[in-house]
């Protein structure tokens, strides 16, 4: 066998073999994850957090800069009051739920009442021009007509409640609002985007949850015996196996 032959053989081995090897490993890893997914545990109590405390790192932005930053920002609609999310959540260390509370109880995202703003702004920044405009709204008894940033089509029923209780973080859909001077639409809100999560590997959370509930909590005889456990049996992938949102069309379209 001449050198030429050997070289050719080597080339063949490398070109054909390597992909096979990778494939092999790939397959192996797939299997592993599959077994992992199959491993079902019992339902441990997972600590309930509605308000994920995030690392805040003040950037030393001043109020005036914040206002200017909002007005200069290019993305997203300009708001009637140049409210700066970055400023409030980074500099002032405010949590989302302080203003947008009870989003976990309802379909819609709750907008803070003007009263809430005034809670601080009667004193804080009262001299700033935008704040005076805010006060103007408040005194005239008119709510602030905030520009809508996210609009889900009308044939979609989107419950914030279900997502928050399934511990989907706000920023998974709304982006790092704490770094936005002016809020813009961070995600497409197209059905394909929804399905990125909902049509994930594994089983329908909806059905899985129900099944898990039967195992863990047999239906009580009387309503009084219901033992609230706060949120859904969460992180089903750890406790149960697969995990994804419902892909039943009727879950969102009706």
């Amino acid at each position: 066998m001449t050198l030429r032959h050997r070289l050719i053989a080597a080339a063949v081995i490398v070109t054909v073999g390597l992909p096979l090897v990778f494939l092999g490993f790939g397959g192996a890893t797939l299997d592993a994850s599959g077994q992992e997914a199959a491993a079902t545990g019992t339902l441990q109590e997972v600590p309930v957090r509605l308000d994920p405390i995030k690392e805040r790192n003040p950037t030393g932005q001043t109020a005036d800069e914040a206002i200017a930053a909002h007005e200069d920002a290019t993305e997203g609609p300009e708001q009637p009051i140049p409210f700066n999310h970055r400023f409030h959540s980074q500099e002032l260390q405010m949590q989302c739920e302080y203003c947008h509370g009870s989003s976990d109880q309802t379909a819609i995202a709750v907008m803070p009442a003007v009263d809430l703003c005034m809670g601080c702004h009667r004193i804080v920044g009262a001299n700033l021009e935008p704040i005076q405009r805010l006060r103007g709204f408040y005194d005239s008894g008119e709510p602030v007509p905030w520009e809508r940033v996210y609009k889900v089509p009308e044939f979609v029923q989107f419950p914030h409640r279900a997502h928050i209780r399934s511990q989907v973080e706000c920023e998974e859909c709304h982006g790092k609002v704490e770094e936005m001077d002016r809020v813009y639409q961070y995600t497409s809100l197209k059905m394909g985007w929804c399905l990125d999560c909902h049509w994930d590997v594994g089983e329908d959370t909806d059905v899985a949850t129900d099944r898990l509930l039967i195992e863990q909590y047999p239906p009580p005889e009387t309503p009084d015996e219901r033992q609230p456990i706060g949120l859904y049996p969460r992180r089903l992938d750890q406790q149960y196996g697969a995990n994804r949102g419902p892909i039943d069309c009727f879950a969102c379209h009706y």
Partner: protein, 997 residues
């Protein structure tokens, strides 16, 4: 939907400030899209957040509906973001969450686009805008002028007291009036027992109901309550069921449920009652019988058989049964049976009850029923006379519509024109308001404060469920302000009616004694619960003694009409006409005739035949009162010598929906009052009938009246109930069948509908309209078969041996386990959900309509056009349900929005959805609880148990579509022809026909 948490208004209504919260419902809120105030791309937050309301969730306010038909109903008004979107019965009420069609449609009355938007003043012939100040001032001046009459609906509670005090203060006369009143019944009880009272009819305890015409399941006294009682008395599954005999010239909605029908000539119900009473007395031969022997003596079966037109034999059988019954009950004539001698008829029925021993057992005077008193029709007629003679200076009309509801032949409207000052406080531009000089529009009930004694000892409280839609004011507040101008301010401490109301309740609270809670707590509890039960010291004698007057009463023989005798009757959809401005009611097919958007003349086939008249042909009916030309409806549930016409249509004002529809039946009445009670004779007038030979327009929402033995509507004899097992649904196969539902899912939603309980009252249909944003399409499109109702009550005739029997069949999507609609959809818009529903995805639908073709039950509805919800009707839309647009197929979803919500709630509590936790809108509002919804995979659930019952069957089950809906056969005492439904025989061959079996 009802979140279960009931709120009260506390301090005023700022917390539900209307405009400010409009549109907060952002994501997924269909309603936010249409109609001013349109907040399209704005997010409008609260100014001041209500502490107890989460935006985007429903809050229920307990309040009271008094204007919805004959009975007052306590309701929960579901409020979403400041607007009422749904009414539901107050669960703590006797009738639970049940409501009537009229009650549901009160929402459309509230959001009627043609309501008077603000105060109006007559200038020349037109009504022009004016300010409240001017209007009040003018009204005050008019009232100060003296000779004032205040017309209102009857009331018990603070309102009654207020109106009286107001009248006294300004020197006016207060006339509470109800067109379809109970004056004859009261008068008769006065004569019989010296009691001015309305007893409680406990038909649930009776084993033989003998009805002399009262439409007690539809329009008489208390349909919702009576419906519940009626169903409670039908234990068909245990072979026990009250026999129900109907006596009268026309089968009403209630009559359609009767086992047997004695078609007595109009007005001769009296004689039938007396003859039966005589027979019963003869059999009982006890003390009571002895007392009335004299009165009854002349009324032998033979004597009455002639004039009533009912064979003596049948009467004898009836008497036999009635005498033998354990707990018999005879129901009086209702409106349709109210002739020129109404009191006599009532008294005759009372005597029958007396001898049969019903008084004190099934008819109790110590019961809960209370109804407000009101002036009789005769008094109104007299008022008309006085007005035309110029004795009246000022008439204030608040909440009644005499210009329409008084027979035209009395010329009440003309008389009204003769009154210097006519002031209307009506929220609507009805006939009376149209004739008024000033309109001071008052709130709708759902925007106003109020209270009322709805049953003995229970004081219900009405609170504003939302901010006023228009520039209106509380009716009583207007009166207070008028009184102030008229110089009677000092008569009242309270400056507004809410203060007055609380004053009255302070007094009530004062009576409670020491251990009572503080007034604030008590008041708030009343607000959140919808009322307060008060101790009733003396219930009175359940069975008062018969007076001598009654024992020696001389009954007048009714005059036999020469040609036809005319019967006018109220319907569940229009009642006395107040429902005519509601699209839902106009489009609700009359349960007897299935006609929509019109009025008609009911004629017996034997009469119509010789005249060559068919349904839809124009006929002319002429009476002493007047004449109308209207489409005929050939109806075999009526005597050949009788014509029947519905009340409530033929408005000349009252909004775009009502005007020019059909005719006003009152035009045919000459206004003869009953001598003794002064009630209007709604039936018994003699009429002539002529065929015009022209074709009219009458849209009938039913293609064919018989189900042709197709196992669609099933009727069995009570003796066949135990062995009527052929149709039993095998739940195991139903649930475990491959594609019925995801084996992993714990749910397979199902429903059972008891045809034996269903009375066809239409509450479910109307509830569906309001829950699921169903559009109203109008008469023409209905005629083309393009109605959008997700649920229809079909009325099928079933032959019995000596007649026929109606079966009401609520038909909605059967949510088949193996649905014909699913495989044919090219885009998966129709598909099967893991929980066994037939999903319909609007935004995926391209509109091939193949699914509708392939649906054997024909329950799918296509959006032929994009339908409008003119402002403010769009405020009623339910944000949890998408508003569909043109080119999209839709159908019943089993209220999936409620299912999904319940599942979220359950998950929050880490449990499965409990049985009964989900109520579909139709189930929720059914007075007879004919509809049961639940999880078929839970063998203990109510629906599973019902579906397993011996009467269960699947509609068209030979197609093996495995419906999730199990119908329970209707049961009758009447003998059925051999081989008819339920009685063995043809089921073997049907089994052969279905290959899959």
């Amino acid at each position: 939907m009802n979140d279960g948490d009931v709120k009260y208004s506390g301090n005023g209504t700022t917390r539900r400030d209307f405009v400010k919260v409009m549109g907060v419902a952002g994501a997924g809120a269909a309603a936010a899209a249409c109609g001013p105030p349109d907040t399209g791309d704005k997010l409008i937050p609260y100014l001041i957040p209500p502490d107890d309301i989460v935006p985007g969730t429903n809050v229920s306010y307990a309040t009271l509906l008094t204007g919805a038909g004959p009975e007052p109903l306590t309701v929960h008004a579901s409020v979403r973001d400041g607007r009422v979107i749904k009414l539901e019965g107050n669960p703590s009420a006797r009738t639970g969450t049940a409501l009537s069609a009229m009650a549901h449609s009160a929402l459309q009355d509230l959001y009627d686009p043609d309501r008077v938007p603000g105060p109006r003043q007559r200038a020349a012939d037109a009504l022009v805008e004016t300010t409240w100040e001017d209007a009040i001032a003018a009204a005050g001046a008019a009232v100060a002028g003296g000779a004032t009459v205040l017309l209102t609906p009857p009331a018990i509670g603070s309102a009654a007291r207020f109106y009286q005090e107001w009248a006294d203060a300004v020197g006016a006369t207060w006339m509470p009036w109800e067109p379809l009143g109970l004056e004859a019944l009261r008068t008769a009880h006065g004569i019989a027992f010296g009691l001015d009272a309305i007893p409680t009819y406990e038909i649930n305890r009776s084993d033989h109901i003998l009805c002399f015409g009262a439409d007690f399941l539809g329009t008489w006294l208390a349909p919702v309550e009576m419906g519940a009682r009626f169903a409670a008395g039908r234990f068909a599954d245990h072979g026990v069921q009250a026999r129900f005999t109907f006596v009268g010239p026309r089968l009403s909605l209630s009559g359609l449920k009767a086992d047997e029908w004695l078609p007595a000539r109009a007005g001769t119900e009296t004689l039938v009652a007396l003859a039966i009473a005589r027979e019963v007395a003869a059999r009982k031969a006890d003390g009571r019988a002895a007392r009335v022997e004299g009165v009854l003596a002349p009324f032998t079966l033979e004597a009455v058989a002639e004039s009533t037109g009912v064979e003596a034999g049948k009467l004898a059988d009836l008497a036999e049964h009635f005498a033998a019954a354990q707990a018999p009950i005879a129901l009086p004539p209702g409106i349709a049976g109210q002739g020129p001698a109404a009191t006599d008829t009532h008294l005759a029925v009372i005597l029958l009850n007396y001898v049969a021993g019903a008084i004190g057992s099934t008819i109790r005077f110590d019961g809960e029923t209370v109804r407000p008193r009101h002036v009789p029709f005769a008094a109104m007629a007299d008022l008309g006379r006085r007005m035309s003679e110029g004795e009246i200076q000022t008439v204030i009309v608040a909440g009644v519509n005499p210009a329409y509801a008084m027979p035209a032949s009395l010329g009440f409207a003309e008389a009204l024109a003769n009154v210097p000052n006519v002031i209307s406080l009506s929220p609507h531009a009805d006939e009376t308001a149209a004739a008024a000089d000033w309109i001071l529009p008052s709130h709708h009930e759902l925007e106003a404060w109020g209270d009322g004694m709805i049953s003995r000892g229970y004081m219900a409280l009405a609170q504003p469920a939302m901010q006023p839609v228009f520039d209106t004011r509380q009716r009583e507040d207007i009166l207070l302000q008028v009184a102030a101008v008229a110089g009677a301010a000092e008569a009242f401490q309270a400056t507004d009616y809410r203060g007055y109301l609380q004053g009255v309740w302070q007094d009530l609270h004062g009576r409670l004694g020491a251990e009572a809670p503080t007034f604030e707590d008590w008041w708030h509890r009343a607000l959140s619960e919808g009322g307060i039960a008060l101790a009733v010291p003396d219930l009175g004698d359940p069975a008062p003694a018969l007076t001598a007057a009654a024992a020696n009463y001389s009954f007048r023989a009714p005059a036999a009409p020469e040609d036809f005798s005319l019967v006018t009757f109220p319907t569940v959809q229009f009642y006395d006409g107040r429902g005519a401005n509601r699209q839902w009611m106009q489009e609700f097919p009359d349960t007897v005739t299935k006609a929509v958007w019109n009025a008609w003349v009911e004629i017996h086939p034997e009469t119509a035949g010789p005249l060559g008249v068919e349904t839809g042909d124009l006929v002319q009916v002429t009476t002493a009162g007047g004449s109308v030309t209207a489409p005929a409806y050939v109806y075999k549930g009526i005597r050949p010598d009788t014509l029947a016409v519905p009340l409530g249509q033929g408005h000349t004002a009252y909004g775009r929906t009502a005007v020019g529809r059909g005719f006003n039946a009152l035009d045919l009445l000459d206004g003869t009052p009953d001598q003794r009670s002064g009630s209007l004779a709604y039936s018994g007038a003699s009429a002539t009938l002529t065929a015009t030979g022209r074709r009219g327009k009458l849209v009938i929402m039913q293609g064919h009246d018989y189900d042709l033995d197709r196992e669609i509507a099933e009727l069995i004899n009570i003796h066949d109930v135990p062995n009527a097992m052929e149709h039993e649904i095998d739940l195991t196969t139903l649930v475990e069948a491959a594609f019925d539902s995801d084996p992993q899912s714990p749910y397979r939603w199902g429903m059972s509908i008891d045809l034996n309980a269903c009375t066809g009252c239409g509450a479910c249909v109307t509830a569906c309209y309001s829950e699921n944003n169903l559009p109203v399409v109008g008469e023409d499109l209905c005629g083309q078969g393009r109605e959008m109702s997700w649920m229809q009550i079909m009325r099928y005739w079933e032959e019995t041996e000596d007649g026929y029997h109606a079966v009401h069949l609520p038909t909605l999507c059967q949510q088949c386990g193996d649905a014909p609609c699913e495989p044919v959809c090219p885009v998966y818009a129709a598909y099967h959900t893991p929980e066994g529903l037939n999903g319909q995805i609007y935004n995926r639908c391209v509109g091939t309509r193949y699914c509708a073709n392939n649906c054997p039950y024909k329950v799918r509805r296509f959006n032929w056009f994009t339908y409008e919800f003119p402002y403010p009707l769009n405020l009623q839309l339910n944000p949890d349900v998408t508003v569909r647009s043109k080119g999209v197929m839709e159908k019943c979803t089993f209220c999936v929005q409620r299912i999904n919500k319940a599942k979220l709630d359950a998950k929050d509590e880490g449990r499965l959805v409990a049985d009964g936790e989900i109520q579909t809108a139709c189930m929720q509002s059914c007075p007879t609880q004919a509809i049961v919804f639940g999880n078929l995979k839970d063998p203990a659930s109510r629906v599973s148990r019902k579906a397993k019952g011996s009467r269960g069957y699947a509609m068209l089950d030979e197609l093996n579509t495995r419906p999730a809906i199990t119908y329970l056969k209707s049961v009758t005492h009447a003998a059925l022809p051999e081989g008819a439904h339920g009685t063995g025989g043809e089921h073997e061959e049907t089994a052969e026909q279905a290959p899959e079996h």
